[in-house]
C-alpha cells in the first residue's frame, strides 16, 4: 500500500506547480456504501493524470468531488492559487450528454450562453473549438445526425469552449470502437499540448491511460483508495509510432502489473475472492 507517493515526475510535459491537493478525501453514501475511503493526492498544473482502476474503486466519485458535483464526507480539497470558479472546470461525461434538440453550434455555445454570452459574441469561440475537434461544417447538424465519435467531439468542444484550466473526463471514450477511440486519443493529446490545461481522466483501460497520461494513479476497490501513483516516463508528442513502440509496451505491462496487484489487494475489509481479469 503506497498511498500518497511523493510526486516526482521524470522528464515529460506537465509537472508544474501544485494545482489541487486532496487531503484525506472520503465519501460514504447515505445507504452506507463507502465509495471512497481516504484519498491523498496532489495534482500539478499541466498534468495529464489518469485515474485507473476496477469498477467500484471510486474513481468517478473522486472526479465528481473534484468537479464540485458531490461533497466529500471527510477531508477536503485545496485549490492552490485560489479556488477555481466554475468557469475554470470543464467536464466530459461518459455519454456525449448533448441537447438532442439543439444544433452542434448551440450545444457548444451552451456553457457560454449560460454565462450570458450572446450568439454573435460566442460565435468565434464556438467555431474555433469546432475546428479544433475537426467538426468544421457540422455546426448546423443535430446530434442524431452524428456518429458516436463525432458526438464525443462535440462534447469535448463544449467542455473546452470556456477555456477551462482543468478538464475532467469520466471514461469519455469507453463506449466507442477502438479505431474511433485511437483517433480521439490522438486529438485529445493534441488539444492538451496546445491549450496547456490540466487533465484528469478516469478510465478502465490500461492502454488508454498509458498512451495519454503523464501520470497514472491506480486505485483499488473496497474500500476505494489510491493504490499506486505511477509516472509515465515517455516524451510528448505521442503519436501512432509511440503506440507500437517497445517503450509503450513496457509501460503498459508495468501499469497492468500494478493494476493486477491493486485488484488482488484487499484493504483489510470485505474480500470477495481474487480477481484476475487484467483490464
Amino acid at each position: 500500500m503506497t498511498a500518497a507517493v511523493p510526486t516526482t515526475l521524470a522528464g515529460s510535459q506537465g509537472s508544474g506547480a501544485p494545482l489541487l491537493a486532496l487531503h484525506g478525501v472520503g465519501k460514504t453514501f447515505s445507504n452506507g456504501v463507502a465509495a471512497l475511503d481516504t484519498i491523498d493526492l496532489t495534482i500539478n498544473e499541466g498534468d495529464f493524470l489518469s485515474l485507473l482502476g476496477p469498477s467500484g474503486c471510486g474513481k468517478s466519485t473522486a472526479l465528481r468531488i473534484i468537479a464540485g458535483l458531490s461533497t466529500p464526507t471527510s477531508g477536503g480539497l485545496d485549490w492552490r492559487g485560489g479556488a477555481l470558479d466554475r468557469s475554470g472546470i470543464g467536464f466530459v461525461f461518459q455519454e456525449p450528454t448533448l441537447l438532442p434538440w439543439a444544433s452542434v453550434f448551440d450545444n457548444v455555445w451552451l456553457p457560454l450562453r449560460l454565462r450570458g454570452v450572446s450568439k454573435a459574441k460566442a460565435a468565434p469561440a464556438v467555431m474555433e473549438m469546432l475546428a479544433r475537434v475537426h467538426l468544421d461544417g457540422f455546426a448546423q447538424a443535430v446530434p442524431r445526425e452524428l456518429s458516436g465519435g463525432m458526438k464525443m467531439r462535440v462534447s469535448i468542444a463544449r467542455a473546452m469552449v470556456t477555456k477551462p484550466r482543468v478538464l475532467l473526463m469520466d471514461e469519455p471514450f469507453a463506449a466507442l470502437d477502438e479505431i474511433t477511440r485511437f483517433k480521439l486519443n490522438n486529438d485529445l493529446l493534441e488539444l492538451w499540448q496546445d491549450e496547456r490545461f490540466t487533465a484528469i481522466f478516469v478510465t478502465h483501460s490500461v492502454f488508454e491511460s498509458v498512451f495519454l497520461s503523464s501520470r497514472i494513479v491506480v486505485m483499488a476497490a473496497r474500500p476505494g483508495r489510491v493504490f499506486k501513483d505511477m509516472p509515465v516516463d515517455a516524451p510528448y508528442p505521442r503519436d501512432e509510432a509511440f503506440r507500437t513502440s517497445p517503450a509503450y509496451a513496457a509501460l503498459c505491462r508495468e501499469a497492468s502489473d500494478v493494476l493486477s496487484a491493486a485488484m488482488n489487494a484487499n484493504g483489510g475489509s470485505g474480500h470477495d475472492g481474487p480477481n484476475h481479469d487484467g483490464h
Binding site: L69, R86, W101, L110, L114, R144
Partner: protein, 288 residues
C-alpha cells in the same frame, strides 16, 4: 453521409434477388393498402347502409339514407355551420386554456417537489370526477353560458397536458442537469434551456389527447347545459333534432362533430411531427 445518396442514385441499376424483390413488392402493396383498404371498407359500409334502408323500407325519421344526410348537410348548411363555429370556439378556447393552465401548473410543480406533492392529488380529483356530475354545481355558481361551457371543457382537457408535461419536466437526463449545475445555470435557465425542451415530446403527446378531449368536453358540456336553451352549438342541434325526430339532421351534425375531431387530431399530429422531426425518435419513425 454519402452512402444513402449513392444507393439512391444506383438503385435502378441494382439487381435484386427473388427475396429482396418480393420484399420490395410487399412494401409497395402495403403502402397503397394502408389508404385503399379503409377507404374501400368505408364505401362498402355506406353502400350497405343505403341498401339496408331500401331493402327494409326504413322511414327516413328512423334511419335516413346516406344521400339524404348529405342533402340535409347542404340544405341546413347555414344553421349547422353556425353551430359548428360555436362548438369550435368553445373547443379551441378551452384547449388554449388547457395548454396555459396545464403547462403553467406543471412548471409550478417542477419548481418544488413539495408543491407537486401538495397539489397533484387535487388535479386527479378533478380528473376522475365525471364532468356531468360536476356540472349542476357549475350551473349554480357561473352565470355566463360561454364561461360555463369553457370551464367544463377545460376541466376535461387540462389533465393530460398537466400530467404529461409534469412527467417530461421531471425526466431530464441526470448528466445534463449536472452539466447545467457545473456551468452555474440559474433555476430559470435550467427550466428554459433544459427542462422545457426536454418536456416537449411529452407535452405534445398530452396535447394530442387534450385536443380530442376538449371537443368531447365542449359537446358534453353543451348537452348538460342544453336544458337552458340558449346555447347554439352542435350538441343543441342534436338534442333539438332528436326531439323533432329529424334523423337526417342528427346524422349531419354527428358527421360534422366526427370530422372536426379527425381534423383536430391530424392538425395536432402534424404540429407534433414538425416540432420533433429533427430530433425525437417518435417523429423519426414516421419518416421510415
Amino acid at each position: 453521409m454519402t452512402a444513402p445518396i449513392m444507393t439512391g442514385t444506383e438503385s435502378r441499376a441494382v439487381r435484386l434477388d427473388a427475396e429482396e424483390a418480393r420484399r420490395l413488392r410487399q412494401q409497395r402493396v402495403e403502402r397503397i393498402g394502408r389508404w385503399l383498404l379503409p377507404l374501400a371498407i368505408m364505401i362498402a359500409a355506406i353502400w350497405f347502409w343505403d341498401r339496408i334502408c331500401v331493402w327494409n323500407e326504413i322511414p327516413k325519421y328512423i334511419l335516413p339514407r346516406p344521400l339524404e344526410v348529405l342533402q340535409t348537410l347542404h340544405d341546413d348548411a347555414g344553421l349547422l355551420f353556425t353551430s359548428l363555429l360555436f362548438t369550435l370556439k368553445i373547443t379551441f378556447l378551452s384547449l388554449l386554456l388547457a395548454v396555459v393552465g396545464g403547462v403553467g401548473l406543471s412548471v409550478l410543480f417542477a419548481q418544488s417537489k413539495w408543491v407537486e406533492m401538495s397539489f397533484f392529488p387535487f388535479a386527479i380529483v378533478l380528473q376522475v370526477t365525471p364532468i356531468v356530475a360536476i356540472f349542476p354545481l357549475i350551473n349554480i355558481y357561473v352565470n355566463n353560458q360561454t364561461a360555463k361551457l369553457l370551464l367544463c371543457a377545460w376541466i376535461v382537457a387540462f389533465f393530460p397536458i398537466l400530467s404529461n408535461t409534469t412527467l417530461g419536466l421531471n425526466s431530464v437526463d441526470r448528466n445534463l442537469r449536472d452539466l447545467f449545475r457545473l456551468n452555474g445555470a440559474s433555476r430559470w435557465q435550467e427550466l428554459w434551456h433544459l427542462r422545457l425542451p426536454a418536456a416537449m415530446p411529452y407535452f405534445l403527446g398530452g396535447l394530442k389527447i387534450a385536443g380530442g378531449l376538449s371537443l368531447i368536453g365542449a359537446v358534453v358540456a353543451e348537452f348538460v347545459a342544453g336544458a337552458s336553451g340558449q346555447a347554439s352549438g352542435l350538441a343543441s342541434r342534436i338534442i333539438e333534432a332528436g326531439y323533432r325526430l329529424n334523423a337526417p339532421r342528427l346524422f349531419a351534425a354527428l358527421i360534422l362533430i366526427s370530422l372536426t375531431g379527425i381534423v383536430i387530431f391530424l392538425v395536432l399530429s402534424l404540429i407534433s411531427h414538425l416540432v420533433l422531426r429533427r430530433w425525437h425518435e417518435s417523429a423519426l419513425k414516421q419518416e421510415g
